[in-house]
């Protein structure tokens, strides 16, 4: 499988995602530069954490206008796998590929710590290798990770089984403890916690692996969508 890790100038978890996908998972991984208009034929895209263009405005608000995001949007509409982590989730929301918004943590401070997540659905290419109800331990590191949406959207997400991950110990005030969500077609997922930081026991947890492994399995089994 070929995985593309998108690099915005302020991405700072790009190397971590690369390391997880290539060294740990053994997949063919490459970086994709933000002002490229093409994804170069990858099978899946990871939007990593960081501060895309500084994010002095709303997180991800500028990133959605970048050339690569036009390509990502098209790829997503064609059914390609798009996985946004932390800043990547914020960008997917800003770009309209996922509903809702991510606002300042309820504690008003940046928080970096481990959280426990419950896998709410295995019906997605990002969670298919996990067990429903499985609890995953991995870090968060964000200042603006409080997920909000109007009641109708939240009800819809739940009715359509699109809440993929929930916090057991909500660290940021996210509505209905939502940590990760899917788009209606289930080929785009965004989450605030960092699975790529939890892929080796030495780093404290390898619970994040199952999400990345799910992508590999899903890509192998599904009809290929080439970017």
């Amino acid at each position: 499988m070929r995985i593309g890790v998108i690099v915005f100038p302020g991405s700072n978890c790009d190397h971590d995602a690369f390391h997880a996908a290539s060294s740990v998972l053994g997949q063919n991984t490459e970086f994709l530069w933000h002002d490229s208009a093409s994804l170069g034929g990858v099978d899946a895209v990871i939007l990593p954490g960081g501060f895309s263009y500084g994010d002095y405005l709303r997180c991800g608000a500028i990133a959605k206008f970048s050339p690569i995001m036009q390509a990502v949007t098209k790829f997503a509409r064609d059914g390609g796998l798009v996985f946004g982590v932390c800043n990547g989730f914020q960008i997917l929301v800003e770009a309209g590929l996922l509903p809702g918004a991510l606002i300042r943590n309820s504690g008003l401070k940046f928080v970096c710590r481990d959280v426990s997540l419950r896998v709410e659905t295995t019906n997605s290419p990002f969670t298919c290798a996990a067990r429903k109800g499985q609890v995953l331990r991995m870090p968060i590191a964000h200042g603006e990770g409080c997920y909000v949406a109007d009641e109708r959207t939240l009800d819809e997400l739940e009715a359509e089984d699109r809440v993929s991950l929930r916090y057991l110990d909500n660290p940021n005030g996210s509505m209905r403890d939502i940590a990760g969500i899917l788009n209606p077609e289930r080929n785009v997922m965004g989450m605030m916690p960092h699975p790529e930081r939890a892929v080796e026991d030495l780093m404290g947890s390898s619970d994040g692996l199952v999400l990345l492994q799910s992508m590999v399995i899903a890509a192998r089994e599904a009809a290929p969508v080439k970017a």
Partner: protein
């Protein structure tokens, strides 16, 4: 121009220094030249009071690739890789404007690392504030604490460097003068090291990064004077940081270095364009000519004086190979950075500055950079004369809970949770889980262990002993995780060196560091001196902060917390010897007796080193399940900290000392170990000539401490935990 006495004084130059300037130039300086000299010869840039004594520090070692004199020191870690590291202070700006002061402190030290070609992979910070619980000054102290922590978080998190450890202590003497010392470490291949050296007449001088504004003019001079009422007017002297721009600079500089077209590179920190041009020229023995009209500016009508002295952040200066400029510009364009060719390397050894075609400054580089005044200031040690009070009757039970909640000892989770401490996925030891910070180097299978330590109280009572104790503690923290020290950096925070008693503290502390670093084979590869840490005539405690760097094989980091029930608890180093005089410098004296007296704990370098060697051998043999050194709060606090993970202990100490001395004295050279094989641990200790009594056993939860079968106290696990974890948050919430 003939400068008036008033103008000279405004530039914080003495009449004698002014005469020296006239002698160097062979004429009166221009206004711009006066400004240039005043910043280069400020205490902050020239180390004129400390240079003489800093020479005593050991700077050589088999792993040292680069010692003091560059932007950062460099140590060979094997496998073709090196680490670059240094510590810097940003005390004065952080008092005036805590958030930006601390943020730009982080920015400055990060540039020092990546200008050497190394990618920063770890930051630690050593902080000192006034007490957060003081009725009169507490509110302001808390505001400064909150601002500083938020500033460090803002800059480091966005830049993408993990803040993996540090220390934070509180004393009334830091009320009007907090200390913000930031340590950074980066890694690169040995062949990729870059130096801040200009060479090759005709080579272009290139400016890249933020535009120059009027911010931070005379920042270096500000950091070289005491605070007075007027200091509040100096807020514009503090710069504003842009971590995103710094991140772009990092990536662009590392990429541009790979082109092979860069000859030398230096960041613009204190004294901005002035410092970077004359230092690069001086190091390379060449001249540099710049044209200020070509310097990117964010304000109009800036004078040459302002452009040369601006301390706008996120700027770098580099020299490229003539004819290959375009390769460098191409990289900067890719990263969206503004770069401009502002001058040329010459062979006349002069810094020549032109503005609108006219020469506004022409100064010999070497004299400006390297012949700054050097002072052997009078120094006379005046140790404080503090009477030993009668020890009050205190319930041990209550004392331990109070100590666990004391600002210096309690959990600093509220601070480190605001820092991204895991980005780059190398953080092997999480904050407060191990005695040292540990980050792995993915490429080599080695990990780097780091510890920052300083104790102002000890140094106040004896600057020499206090400095040695700081080195010993740093090295001990590395030993606990199994690492061998390979190098060190220091940040010397002192008051006004023009006062003989303060100068004497500085001299004694440097001597103490020299002796201890030599003994532990941890050469000093660079550092920083911050003087004039005084407000309204009140100096801070002499506060040398040591950052020791060690190496170890990559593997799980040694936890502080007991891991399983039924393990033997071994006190490597023994119960120690102390007395009422030595108790006067401890946390017990500070928090329970609420006085300071006597002497710091006694240190035997030889015994300390034997403890470290024994500890490393115990770790290497896989015998320790957990380990934690005894420091602030002594045995009882260390034991309580080991029990915070849930597993407790029952211990019985065989000693003649009075209970409060036995439990709370802070004699160094001691480490608490839990092990399934006490026999093997004590055998190793014995081999090294170190005491290692088995003092107890781990139990399901809670603590019980006895002395020769008499119970001194029993503590509930939840009570210890809530005292330790809830304290700092209760102040700052």
């Amino acid at each position: 121009m003939t400068a008036t006495a008033e103008l000279i004084a405004q530039h914080q130059l003495t009449p004698a220094e002014y005469d020296k300037i006239v002698a160097i130039l062979g004429r009166e300086p221009s206004y711009t030249e006066l400004g240039v000299f005043s910043v280069m010869w400020s205490e902050h840039c020239s180390y004129k009071s400390s240079r003489l004594h800093l020479k005593k520090l050991p700077t050589r070692g088999k792993a040292v690739v680069q010692g003091p004199g560059e932007n950062a020191g460099i140590i060979d870690i094997g496998g073709g890789f090196v680490v670059a590291f240094k510590i810097e202070s940003h005390n004065h700006p952080s008092f005036i404007e805590p958030f930006q002061g601390a943020a730009t402190g982080v920015g400055g030290i990060l540039r020092d690392i990546f200008t050497m070609g190394a990618r920063p992979i770890a930051v630690l910070d050593s902080l000192r504030f006034g007490r957060p619980d003081d009725l009169k000054t507490g509110a302001r102290n808390r505001r400064i604490l909150q601002g500083v922590v938020a500033g460090i978080a803002h800059y480091g998190n966005c830049f993408g460097v993990p803040t993996v450890g540090g220390e934070c202590l509180f004393e009334p003497c830091y009320d009007g003068n907090p200390l913000v010392n930031v340590f950074a470490l980066g890694v690169c291949r040995k062949q990729d090291i870059f130096y801040a050296k200009a060479s090759g007449a005709g080579n272009p001088v290139i400016y890249v990064g933020a535009r120059t504004g009027r911010d931070g003019i005379h920042g270096a001079s500000m950091a070289s004077a005491e605070f007075t009422e007027e200091s509040k007017q100096k807020r514009p002297n503090v710069q504003v940081g842009d971590p995103f721009l710094e991140k772009l600079l990092l990536e662009a500089c590392l990429e541009a270095m790979q082109t092979g077209a860069i000859v030398g590179i230096q960041d613009m920190g204190a004294a901005g364009l002035t410092c970077s041009t004359c230092e690069m020229g001086s190091r390379g023995g060449v001249g540099i000519e710049i044209e200020l009209d070509r310097v990117p500016q964010r304000e109009t009508g800036m004078t040459p004086y302002e452009i040369m002295l601006s301390e706008s952040q996120e700027r770098m200066l580099l020299v490229a190979d003539k004819g290959r400029e375009e390769e460098v510009f191409q990289v900067f364009r890719k990263w969206g950075l503004e770069a401009a060719e502002i001058g040329v390397v010459t062979n006349d050894g002069k810094l020549r500055v032109k503005h609108h075609g006219e020469v506004v400054a022409e100064i010999p580089n070497r004299e400006l950079a390297d012949e700054a005044p050097l002072y052997d200031r009078p120094h006379e040690l005046r140790p404080p004369d503090l009477p030993t009070p009668p020890l009050p009757e205190v319930a041990i039970q209550d004392a331990l809970l109070r100590l666990m909640a004391a600002p210096d000892i309690c959990s600093k989770r509220w601070i480190w949770q605001q820092y991204d401490h895991q980005v780059r996925t190398n953080t092997v030891a999480l904050p407060e889980r191990s005695d040292a910070a540990v980050v792995r180097i993915k490429e080599t299978g080695t990990s780097v262990a780091m510890s920052l330590d300083g104790n102002g109280r000890y140094c106040y009572l004896s600057p020499r002993d206090g400095a040695m104790l700081a080195v010993a503690e740093s090295c001990r923290n590395l030993a606990v995780v199994g690492a061998q020290p390979v190098g060190a950096t220091n940040c010397l925070n002192f008051g006004n060196p023009e006062r003989p008693e303060i100068m004497a503290q500085l001299v004694a502390a440097i001597e103490g560091i020299s002796d201890a670093c030599r003994f532990f084979e941890a050469p000093i590869t660079g550092g920083n001196v911050s003087l004039y840490n005084e407000t309204l005539g009140e100096g801070v405690y002499p506060t040398p902060v040591l950052g020791v760097v060690g190496l170890m094989k990559t593997g799980p980091a040694m936890p502080i917390a007991f891991q399983s029930v039924g393990r033997s608890v071994v006190l490597l180093g023994g119960c120690g010897v102390s007395d009422v005089t030595r108790l006067g410098s401890t946390q017990y004296a500070k928090e329970i007796v609420k006085q300071l007296w006597g002497k710091p704990p006694a240190l035997s370098l030889d015994y300390e080193k034997r403890v470290h060697n024994a500890m490393r051998e115990i770790v290497a043999a896989g015998l320790a399940e957990s380990a934690h050194d005894l420091s602030d709060g002594g045995f009882a606090v260390a034991l309580a900290e080991c029990s915070l993970g849930g597993i407790g202990a029952q211990v019985d100490l065989d000693s003649d000392l009075r209970p409060e001395i036995l439990l709370f004295h802070e004699e160094p050279s001691r480490i608490l170990i839990s092990t399934a094989n006490a026999k093997a641990v004590t055998a190793i200790a014995q081999k090294h000539g170190v005491e290692a009594p088995v003092v107890g056993v781990t139990i399901e939860k809670g603590l019980e401490i006895r002395q020769r079968s008499v119970t001194l106290g029993c503590w509930d696990a939840a009570a210890l935990k809530s005292a330790y974890e809830g304290s700092l948050e209760s102040y700052v919430r």
